[in-house]
């Protein structure tokens, strides 16, 4: 279980994340909504510890992870897989190696350095790709596949980490609707079948409503509300996005995109 208490990240005078308290149970699928700049992305980076919190506490199953460093920090990152809006794959390296990079923390340094992968790792990576319907592209270079395919490779890499929790930062914001559905379905399936906790930043309300057990609204680095998908009322939507109705929101988002 992930527990966050008063988590704050300041950049000079600006608080990107401001006193966030939250607890996420095992196997939940949580959607975080909010405008861009509301601190959603910073919050996920704080949880994965790509960045250090300014203050507040962060625990996983009772273990403090806010102040980890060195090998402990790397071990936590491995447990807490991250998926990015721009996929963040290694462009010039083939798909299956990108997936095997997910297992980096289980290998010795020199094996990583020389790029020596075992047959077991190769098999696991292949099965993960197969599960995501990407095994046919295993030997393509990551810069030669489409966005929807790249995001599925990124999910396979995340699963290769054998994580306990997956953080997804706008995983479908750069994808067309059809590919967005494929990727969200995959995340949902992982959440259901493997019982993995998934925390997902989304800018699309429909997606959040359709896929998440629980929705959190963020405004100016703070949590504005927590509710179930059915409780996501127009009032709450306008609280987060500052618009009167959902159709107006759709219109404004369409303009932004």
């Amino acid at each position: 279980m992930l527990q966050i208490q008063g988590l704050t990240k300041t950049y000079g005078a600006l608080s990107a994340v401001d006193g966030v308290s939250l607890s996420v149970g095992k196997g939940q699928m949580v959607g975080i909504i909010g405008r861009s700049g509301a601190g959603k992305s910073t919050l996920l980076r704080l949880i994965n510890r790509l960045i250090d919190p300014s203050s507040g506490s962060l625990t996983w199953d009772g273990r403090n992870i806010a102040r980890l460093s060195g090998a402990h920090l790397r071990a936590w990152r491995a447990q807490c897989a991250m998926i990015f809006q721009q996929f963040n794959l290694i462009q010039r390296v083939d798909v299956i190696t990108n997936v095997m990079i997910g297992g980096v923390s289980r290998r010795s340094s020199w094996r990583n350095l020389l790029g020596v992968f075992s047959d077991d790792e190769r098999r696991q990576a292949y099965r993960l790709l197969d599960e995501l319907d990407m095994s046919a592209r295993a030997l393509h270079r990551a810069d030669g596949i489409s966005g929807g395919q790249a995001q599925r490779v990124a999910i396979a890499r995340a699963l290769m980490q054998n994580p306990q929790i997956i953080l997804a930062d706008e995983p479908v914001a750069s994808l067309d609707p059809r590919n967005a559905k494929v990727v969200m379905d995959a995340l949902r399936k992982i959440n259901r079948e493997r019982g993995l906790t998934v925390i997902c930043n989304l800018h699309n309300l429909h997606t959040a409503r359709n896929y998440c057990d629980r929705i959190i609204g963020m405004v100016d680095g703070r949590i504005a509300f927590e509710c179930s998908p059915t409780e996501l009322s127009p009032a709450r939507v306008s609280q987060v996005y500052g618009v009167a109705s959902e159709s107006e929101l759709d219109a404004s988002l369409a303009n932004v995109d």
Partner: protein, 289 residues
């Protein structure tokens, strides 16, 4: 000086000015004539000024038309005695010198890369956060870069003696600085998303270097190294002039003895080796990209 450089090419601004003035309608004919005369006068004045500066400069450095005429006559004699080119029975010697030239460029470039890679990481702003160190490294690049490789060669010849090794060291130092600068700019333009991607999996520093940095920078590093190898092959041909071995040495030796037919042979060999290396390096570069 820039003034007179402009004077010679000043035809263009004048044209624009006159074109601009003819466009409005209802312009009296006399006005057009006056405007045109003024442009012409300005142009002539600038040209005369340029000419005066040119003549003044020529006088200062002692450019003498009379000695030029005599020299041209001599030069004609040189040119006539250049054909047919011949190796003068030293062909194997020249071939060895050619090999020495290529070897100088090759080893020099490899050493330059070996020097440049660690320096470039120190000079890149996204890797080294200590700005005084970065500042010192940057200024060092600029300093070394300001001195031509031939001057380095001359210095190393007087430090280590008449050997191709002096030329190799000259290339290594002069190009080490340039490559370090080029490399550090490549590192600064690295895509941060790929680094974050590998970092988020729990990679340590070495793994990050191997899987986030190297795949991005290696092809660019290699193609730049090849490019500098090409350019070094060109400069290696002349390093011998100051005693650093290779074709340049054979060239200057034969020139002093006025063996122009052999000089022509060496020049042809220089052209051949430069062309060959350009071609080879283009092939290899296409493989990398």
């Amino acid at each position: 000086m820039p003034n007179s450089a402009v004077a010679i090419i000043a035809v263009e601004p004048g044209d624009n000015a006159s074109a601009g003035q003819t466009q409005p309608s209802n312009l009296a004919l006399s006005e057009i004539l006056i405007a045109h005369r003024r442009t012409r006068q300005r142009r002539v004045a600038l040209l005369l000024l340029g000419l005066a500066v040119f003549i003044g400069a020529a006088y200062k450095v002692g450019l003498n038309p009379l000695s030029m005429a005599r020299g041209l006559e001599k030069l004609g004699g040189f040119l006539r005695s250049m054909v047919p080119p011949t190796a003068g029975g030293h062909f194997s010697e020249l071939l060895y010198a050619l090999g020495q030239t290529v070897a100088m460029a090759f080893v020099g470039t490899v050493l330059a890369a070996v020097i440049a890679i660690p320096l470039s990481f120190l000079g890149a702003s996204n890797v080294v956060g200590v700005w005084p160190l970065r500042f010192v490294v940057r200024r060092l690049f600029d300093f070394v870069r300001g001195v031509d490789v031939l001057i380095w060669a001359l210095i190393f010849v007087s430090a280590v003696g008449l050997t191709p090794f002096a030329g190799i060291m000259a290339i290594a130092i002069a190009d080490g600085a340039v490559l370090a600068k080029v490399f550090s700019e490549i590192i600064e333009q690295i895509d941060n998303k790929q680094i974050e991607g590998v970092q988020s999996c729990g990679a340590d520093r070495l793994t990050l270097l191997r899987w986030a940095y190297v795949p991005q920078i290696l092809p660019l590093f290699l193609s730049n190294i090849l490019y500098y190898f090409e350019s070094n092959a060109r400069s290696a041909t002349i390093l011998g002039v100051v005693g650093a071995g290779g074709l340049g040495y054979e060239l200057s030796e034969r020139m002093q003895l006025l063996l122009w037919d052999q000089v022509f042979m060496v020049v042809l060999m220089i052209l051949a080796v430069v062309t060959l290396i350009d071609f080879a390096s283009r092939v290899v570069r296409r493989q990398i990209a």
